[in-house]
């Protein structure tokens, strides 16, 4: 109840701009370095480099902002970083083998983990760390997205090219939607009506109706001067008003800006090399992109849609989580 209250207060506070001046903490997982880099959002200085297990990739912050949870693929576990102490305080060992991406529901009770090697989605109880269920999906599961009401979790399987919609009460797969090749990320729109699923090799984003499971529209990206095979959509995020979407386009070194209502592509923002995952500052003013090949992170202003600055992080930066 308390958690719910503070969350709604926070959402209410955003339009007033109360959060705007506060420095946020940006957590970037560095796949090659076995670290998470923590930066101050205002100075963009590194606050701390936190050692983790081997091959940290998927990274999320809990809704209470107290913990950052990181998938530790090569050690078959999740590391939990305390956001006050800025160190790994515990691990979840029941995460299943080779966790790659994870999601936490809005209540912060459950963790959903994609186990890439085993074709499973593991559901963990956050408090006890116990596995509540293992849901078989397609081959090489990766993307995880939880619907705003927590009722559905969408997993993508890269080799099977599907988005699997899982009922979070029964742990049953209620729909399998064939999308384009190598789907990587699933993200619900803020109203929960659509799931956006990016396909890395297919070069598209499928917009799926969350009720009928039909593909409503497929975004394609035609960038002049860029060879089509370099357009590899991965990370998807929406602005706080839900009107604009950002899609990281991998080796084309760009972030696409999309009008959610019309599906029109408004802009392509040039960032560092091979941006994969992106994250929005909780106050909605900035977008951050982890650039895998240039070992840095680009800061984009959400209003002007300009890349403002690029700062060094660790080697092979992969994902980003932000504490307001």
């Amino acid at each position: 109840m308390l958690r719910k209250l503070s969350l709604s207060l926070l959402i209410a506070a955003v339009p007033l701009g109360a959060e705007a001046a506060r420095a946020a903490q940006i957590y970037v997982s560095n796949e090659r370095d076995n670290t998470v880099t923590v930066l101050d959002s205002e100075t963009l200085q590194i606050i701390k480099v936190i050692a983790t297990g081997r091959r940290p990739r998927g990274i999320v912050i809990t809704p209470d902002y107290k913990e950052v949870i990181v998938c530790i693929g090569d050690d078959n576990r999740l590391d939990v970083i305390d956001t006050e102490k800025l160190e790994v305080v515990r691990t979840y060992d029941a995460s299943g083998p080779d966790p790659e991406l994870l999601a936490v529901d809005r209540k912060g009770d459950r963790i959903y983990v994609a186990n890439e090697d085993d074709g499973l989605v593991t559901v963990l109880d956050r408090a006890s760390g116990k596995a509540l269920a293992e849901v078989p999906v397609g081959v090489e599961p990766e993307g995880m997205g939880v619907s705003p009401d927590g009722g559905i979790v969408v997993n993508t399987s890269e080799q099977t090219s599907m988005a699997h919609f899982i009922n979070t009460k029964t742990f049953e797969v209620v729909a399998n939607v064939l999308v384009d090749t190598r789907p990587r990320v699933a993200e619900f729109t803020l109203d929960g009506r659509e799931a956006w699923v990016s396909a890395e090799v297919g070069g598209t984003v499928s917009i799926i109706d969350a009720k009928t499971f039909q593909i409503l529209y497929k975004l394609t990206f035609d960038i002049s001067g860029v060879r089509p095979e370099l357009v590899q959509p991965i990370g998807v995020r929406f602005t706080l008003d839900g009107k604009t979407a950002f899609v990281a386009l991998g080796p084309s070194n760009r972030i696409a800006v999309i009008d959610v209502a019309t599906h029109k592509i408004k802009d392509y923002i040039l960032v560092g090399q091979r941006p994969w995952h992106i994250a929005l500052k909780p106050d909605g003013t900035k977008l951050y992109a982890a650039n895998g090949l240039t070992n840095d992170m680009t800061v984009i202003d959400v209003t002007t849609l300009k890349a403002e600055k690029t700062v060094q992080v660790g080697r092979l930066p992969w994902g980003i989580a932000i504490k307001p």
Binding site: D98, E116, D117, G119, G138, V139, E140, S157, E158, Q159, T160, S161, M162, N176, L178, T181, R182, V201, G202, G203, R227, E229, L230, Q232, P251
Partner: protein, 399 residues
């Protein structure tokens, strides 16, 4: 209607991997793995295990990937495995399977057997995926409308190395090659690559000595003197470019050349479609899944058979048909790409039905680079800088 008929035919044949399932709602999608147990040279290095099921295990893993998707889409994939001991056996097996309605074939065959199967009257409407041979003639003068090439050609391999050597500015090559027909094919591709990418073959030598059995307990002393003899007195060169496809001596060139020069080609730095050192673009996932599945490392032939099986799976998934004519049209259309862990969708070249693909340049223990190299330009696909491009092809196909 055609689908129904095919389904009925497949049901009559039965499946090697299980009983026929006569579920009306399912689309039967049987894929044939056709091979011959060739006498293969043993690897020279004792570190390399002797593997007798290269290719087959890859096709089996490809099947299991297809099955995962097919289970949901109600496509019932099966793999019919036929490995014969001689050419007549291969042709008889192909006749038998084609006669029973099979049309989708993964061919782990050398050119002789491959063409014998492709030219069967009953194979004219089949789709045969070459998952083994790099022979350039198969993509050129001897191309067939019913044969698609998943394996990279010798020309693609030589070009992939040549681009890297050009980038390094190692332009003077000393060519050393073995005495087999396949070596002659690769040597021709190496010479073509040198001309295309501005390199010079300063000298060439054929090596005919047969080192014999791979066991050579005290043989290293002889080898230590043989390799400098083979390589001494050659004109000024940057690299030794070796073609030794039968693994008779190439391994021995490393660290034993007369001058301290790097070795590239079939040993040393190699251009391949797959290697254990490769982990890029999600490649670790495939390595890991294969090792769990087959209890050994994934060889290039396993990868190619896996990829060929996946080509069929991907096409059936997207086109929602097992009709060979429909699938052939789809494979040649712009809509078809298959993911092969190379960071881009792979598609077939229309002019010779060769699968476009980046190639790995790998040393014995680590990945060195991937070609095409940056800076080599092409108006359509960068990967078309590897091998025979449309204006150069000797292949003449009706469509």
């Amino acid at each position: 209607m055609i689908l129904r008929l095919l389904f009925a035919a497949a049901a009559l044949v039965g499946y090697q991997t299980g009983p026929a399932v006569c579920d009306e709602t399912k689309l039967a999608a049987p894929i044939v793995y056709l091979s011959r147990a060739y006498a293969e040279p043993l690897p020279l290095s004792l570190v390399e295990p002797i593997i007798t099921d290269k290719g087959l295990q890859g096709a089996r893993l490809g099947l299991s990937d297809n099955v995962a998707t097919g289970r949901i889409l109600k496509h019932d994939y099966t793999l019919v495995e036929r490995v014969s001991s001689d050419k007549a056996g291969v042709v008889a097996a192909a006749r038998d399977l084609l006669g029973n309605g099979h049309r989708l074939i993964v061919a782990d065959l050398e050119p002789d057997e491959l063409l014998a199967v492709a030219d069967l009257a009953e194979a004219q409407d089949a789709i045969i995926l070459n998952a083994r041979s790099s022979n350039d003639a198969l993509r050129g003068a001897s191309c067939r409308h019913n044969v698609f090439h998943v394996a990279p050609s010798f020309a693609m391999r030589a070009d992939a190395l040549a681009q890297y050597l050009a980038w390094k500015q190692w332009r003077n090559w000393f060519l050393v090659y073995g005495d087999t027909p396949m070596d002659a094919e690769y040597v021709a591709a190496i010479k073509r690559a040198a001309a295309r990418f501005g390199a010079k073959i300063v000298e060439e030598r054929k090596y005919t000595f047969d080192p014999g059995n791979r066991r050579a307990e005290t043989g290293h002393q002889q080898i230590q003197t043989q390799m400098p003899l083979l390589t001494q007195g050659a004109r000024d060169h940057d690299v030794v470019f070796v073609s030794d496809l039968d693994e008779a001596f190439g391994e021995y060139l490393l660290w034993r050349t007369s001058l301290p020069k790097p070795v590239v080609g079939t040993q040393g730095l190699m251009a391949v479609a797959w290697h254990r050192s490769y982990e890029q673009y999600g490649g670790s996932q495939l390595q890991g899944r294969f090792e769990k599945f087959a209890k050994r490392l994934m060889t290039e032939r396993d990868y190619l058979a896996w990829l060929a099986t996946r080509v069929f799976g991907e096409a059936i998934t997207r086109a929602n048909t097992v009709d060979a004519a429909g699938l052939r049209a789809f494979l040649l259309s712009k809509a078809f790409t298959v993911a092969g862990f190379k960071g881009q969708g792979l598609s077939f070249r229309k002019w010779d039905r060769q699968l476009r693909q980046p190639l790995l340049l790998t040393g014995p223990r680590s990945l060195v680079s991937m070609s095409p190299q940056d800076g080599f330009l092409h108006e359509k696909f960068l990967t078309d800088t590897l091998g025979y491009d449309e204006p150069e092809t000797h292949c003449r196909l009706p469509n």
